[in-house]
């Protein structure tokens, strides 16, 4: 029996979101979400960000619009989402059915000394996403709910926003390739085929 008050563990959440990942495409926000996605298994269909804070959700939108038959999953942190907060409004207007945004919310800036983010003071990202117009917007506190979000992400029947309340634990880093050209080229080759190398 899951204790609803216990905070989720970030790697358990990400491993479940990426269970039987099929051909889902993943954008990972900078910092710990990048390391979490990489710990679940480095993959050509991952685009893990090492910078460009605030980019993750909008990269997911551009990718989802370009690849309407594929499912796109953005996994990022609360600080990164807050920096790109306007993108929730832009995404709500565009409503791509194949885009899920999962925010790992430890209420901290993890890479810089665990300082509190706005969510520690009650700013409700799931409420903001809902108010922007993303109708499927949930706060997730149990692994059963994580599984529901995982299934929604793979179904692609509407834009989904999920705020995962996670433990502010510091874990061993698992690093993907750092070079942007390698990450870009292998992703495009995987999604578009060898033709991507020539265009």
């Amino acid at each position: 029996m899951t204790n609803p008050n216990a905070l989720l563990h970030r790697r358990d959440v990400v491993n479940e979101l990426l269970r039987d990942r099929g051909d889902i495409l993943v954008i990972a926000g900078l910092g710990a979400p990048n390391w979490d996605v990489s710990a679940a298994g480095d993959h050509a269909n991952n685009f893990p960000l090492w910078g460009a804070m605030g980019a993750a959700a909008m990269m997911g939108l551009g990718l989802a619009l370009a690849q309407p038959k594929r499912k796109v999953l953005v996994i990022t942190g609360d600080g990164e989402m807050l920096m790109g907060i306007g993108s929730l409004a832009t995404i709500a207007v565009e409503k791509p059915p194949n885009l899920t945004i999962a925010v790992l919310d430890n209420e901290r800036f993890g890479e810089t000394g665990m300082q509190k983010t706005h969510t520690a003071s009650g700013v409700d990202l799931a409420g903001m996403a809902l108010a922007a117009g993303i109708r499927t917007s949930q706060t997730v506190r149990t692994m059963e709910q994580v599984t529901e979000i995982r299934d929604l992400a793979h179904q692609g029947k509407g834009t989904v926003f999920a705020l995962m309340k996670i433990n502010p634990e510091a874990l061993v880093f698992t690093l993907p390739p750092a070079d942007g050209v390698i990450l870009t080229t292998r992703f495009r080759q995987s999604v578009l085929g060898d033709e991507a190398l020539y265009n």
């Binding site: 551009g62 370009a66 832009t90």
Partner: protein
């Protein structure tokens, strides 16, 4: 009673054709996603894309969203363009790391303020800093200061961006767009 019937002002220049030429060039370049924060200078181009079922026109809350969106589009195999005013270039600076470090194409069409004939002093700092800011972040910058020069300059930048996988910006000067003067509007 004032005359209310609108009459064409004989002193008005003919409608510029460069936005139509730019639209055609961007279509030929294969642009499928158009990200923008509107500017009056882009209004005709925005209307053309809005009426085009083959392109997705996305309004942003801030210009750096468009840099990230078009990076995602490129990962998915689509080309795009970012339409913005020079003030919005300042919002993009750190996000320009993304196309720079990943060698992704990014085509930015920037309508200038704080430039030729500007009346609003608040537009000057960013307008005068636009080209230097872009170049500091590795964006290849070209300028068009006459209507006839806009289309060839956009053609050149589009080819640079999409054939060499780099960020490239075209600055469309205020001399092309015409300078506003709110002081005149305030008197009317």
């Amino acid at each position: 009673m004032a005359e209310t019937t609108a009459k064409p002002n004989p002193a008005s220049p003919p409608l510029p054709s460069w936005p139509d030429d730019v639209y055609r060039i961007l279509k030929e370049a294969g642009v499928k996603q158009v990200a923008m924060v509107p500017d009056a200078g882009h209004s005709r181009l925005i209307r053309a894309f809005d009426a085009d079922p083959e392109t997705r026109l996305v309004t942003l809350t801030t210009e750096e969203e468009g840099v990230a969106m078009l990076a995602g589009a490129w990962l998915g195999g689509q080309r795009g363009v970012l339409l913005l005013q020079s003030s919005g270039v300042g919002n993009c600076i750190n996000m320009l790391s993304l196309p720079a470090i990943c060698h992704m194409p990014l085509l930015m069409l920037v309508t200038m303020r704080g430039d030729w004939g500007e009346f609003n002093p608040w537009q000057i700092p960013m307008g005068q800093g636009t080209q230097a800011s872009l170049e500091a972040m590795g964006v290849i910058v070209t300028r068009a200061d006459t209507p006839d020069d806009v289309a060839p300059t956009v053609w050149g930048a589009a080819n640079l961006a999409f054939n060499t996988w780099r960020p490239a910006a075209v600055l469309i000067g205020q001399r092309v767009l015409g300078a506003k003067n709110f002081k005149e509007l305030a008197r009317k």
